[in-house]
Amino acid sequence: MIAAHLPALQIAVPLIAAPICLLLRRENLSWAWATFISWVVFALAWVMLEKTLTGGAFNYELGGWEAPYGIEYRVDALNAFILLIVAAIGAVVMPYARASVAREIPEHKRGLFYTAYLLCLTGLLGITITGDAFNVFVFLEISSLSSYALIALGRDPKALTAAFQYLIMGTIGATFILIGIGLMYQMTGTLNMADLAKRLPAVEDTRPVLAAFAFFIVGVCLKLALFPLHLWLPNAYAYAPSVVTAFLAATATKVSIYVLYRFVFTIFGQSFSFDVIPLESILLVLSLAGIFAASIVAIFQTNVKRLLAYSSVAQIGYIMLGVALVSVAGLTASILHIFNHAIMKGALFLCMGAVYYQIGSVKIEDMNGIGKKMPFTMFAFVIAGLGLIGVPLTVGFISKWYLITAVLEKGWWPVAVLILLSSLLAVIYIWRVVEAAYFKAGDSDDVVVKEAPVSMLIPIYVLTGASVYFGIETSLPLGTAAEAAKQLMGIGG
């Protein structure tokens, strides 16, 4: 019975778990429950990915109503892969959360914290799995509203301002997306993605469809923080609780990128998006500008979480550069980097969470000599940092390798040079942290700083290990990404 209901369970399980989590009223019970549910969700996502890779795409009709009329969930190689990334990060982050949340969040809010986390997970998975354009918006609101609450729980009072800023920008983005979907509905009379894809070509010369595309792209680029629409991101990531930063940095923007793929390639179609509208030149310029501007700003940050947040903006630039190539190779590199970046950034933010747990700060000047006091945490930081730079034997190298191959396939060698140059900027900002941690003497030996607890180190090492493992054994992410890219470009599948 379960096999037939997998897509519904993927969403319904975390959804029904959230109110139960609220009723548990015991911090430890809530945490155990949220962790258990995260693992169940991960198992479901894993089974679904296996199913799509062997048997192809499948649908689920919610409420038993047929596809164009009812809401349909549709799972193919692309969104099964994104579902797996979201679920896996959730499953890795939750065991870590117990110690970190106990240190950073007031006691009476911890139950609510885990409830909001489960709702956020539901929203992110829902956006990814649904085959209905309006349903995307509904789940987007669920995930956004819960993430505003999660970010506002940060201990620094600035977290409130950061959450409010994100709320304003996120709401503008969501409104634009809704306007876009509304205009599409007005022109075609349908909200089902597959049906939209069939009906849009007949009306694609009309002004409302052009406006729908423009509103939608701007809205979704706000949510995915493409330069220069990234202004909400650095503060939100810097002041949110450590667990929230690690979870959102690895999943939230990635899910928005998935929405962009889905609408640009599947719904509007390649010929409309790239021939009628020159989306590729816009994305190319913005992603290159984003890579350089954000990397340079990252170099001058003193708060390491903020530094990593700017680095995320730069990494989103690489992902969007892959889209701008409009080729199977480019999309493969793009999807692959979503996976790889989720692992690396997750690991880096978890390391910073461990540092914050022990010294109560993530400023570079407070981290002098911390390499000796927290050797395991900082070693993991260095390994994941090498991945961010793109050193061979790490996932970052695999991403850059495929991205540069795809760029050269197009003959855009100046872009390839720029990608290599931008890696040097990553060397500088990672080096600043490493220098403070290993080569500067700690000023106060009287303060005893110990290694982070094992419950935090294990999740850190799971992600760091994955960043090396998938840098060597690339068949799972690469095979899935290539399959998904082919389906998006309409080849095979």
Binding site: M1, L15, I16, P19, I20, L23, E61, G63, G64, P106
Partner: protein, 164 residues
């Protein structure tokens, strides 16, 4: 609150009617305009009116916040529970058709329960939001000391006021 005699009498008359109207909107939602969301807001408005006239403390005696949080969850649990019940009866998630003997009766039962869940959650959330705003500065939140700081209260020593 002694002196608002008219308000108190009118509120006492209106509150049962508001609740009754909310229940009408709730259960007539299958056939006419209405449904769980609207009904929940109206039902919540009855409690909010009570809190406005008789004070927050009295209102919180009527619905303690522990119960409210349970109600917030209960509505969503009812909604999702109907979905799972349909799944266990052999249909898809939220397929009301399989819930009762025949398809039509099942659809009726399903939408009634789901809308009831929506109504309960919306009503409880409206009251929670009102209590949260109205209760600010009452010392519920330990980090809200600006509003309760004694220097700002008007009847602190007159000398300090003159010095300023």
């Amino acid at each position: 609150m002694r002196h608002h005699l008219v308000l108190r009498v009118v509120a006492k008359l209106l509150i049962p009617l508001i609740m009754l109207f909310a229940l009408y909107v709730q259960f007539h939602g299958d056939y006419g305009p209405g449904g769980g969301f609207q009904a929940g807001v109206i039902f919540g408005a009855a409690f909010i009116l009570y809190a406005l006239i008789f004070g927050l403390d009295n209102a919180q005696k009527v619905v303690p916040s522990g119960y409210l949080m349970a109600l917030v969850s209960a509505g969503l649990l009812l909604y999702a529970g109907v979905g799972f019940a349909a799944m266990f009866k052999g249909g898809n998630f939220l397929d009301y058709g399989v819930l009762a003997g025949d398809f039509i009766a099942g659809q009726h039962l399903g939408i009634l329960l789901v809308e009831l869940g929506v109504g309960i959650t919306v009503c409880a959330v409206m009251i929670v939001i009102f209590f949260a705003f109205a209760g600010r500065g009452n010392g519920d939140e330990e980090d809200d000391d600006i509003a309760t700081s004694p220097d700002l209260s008007p009847d602190s020593s007159p000398n300090s006021a003159r010095e300023v």
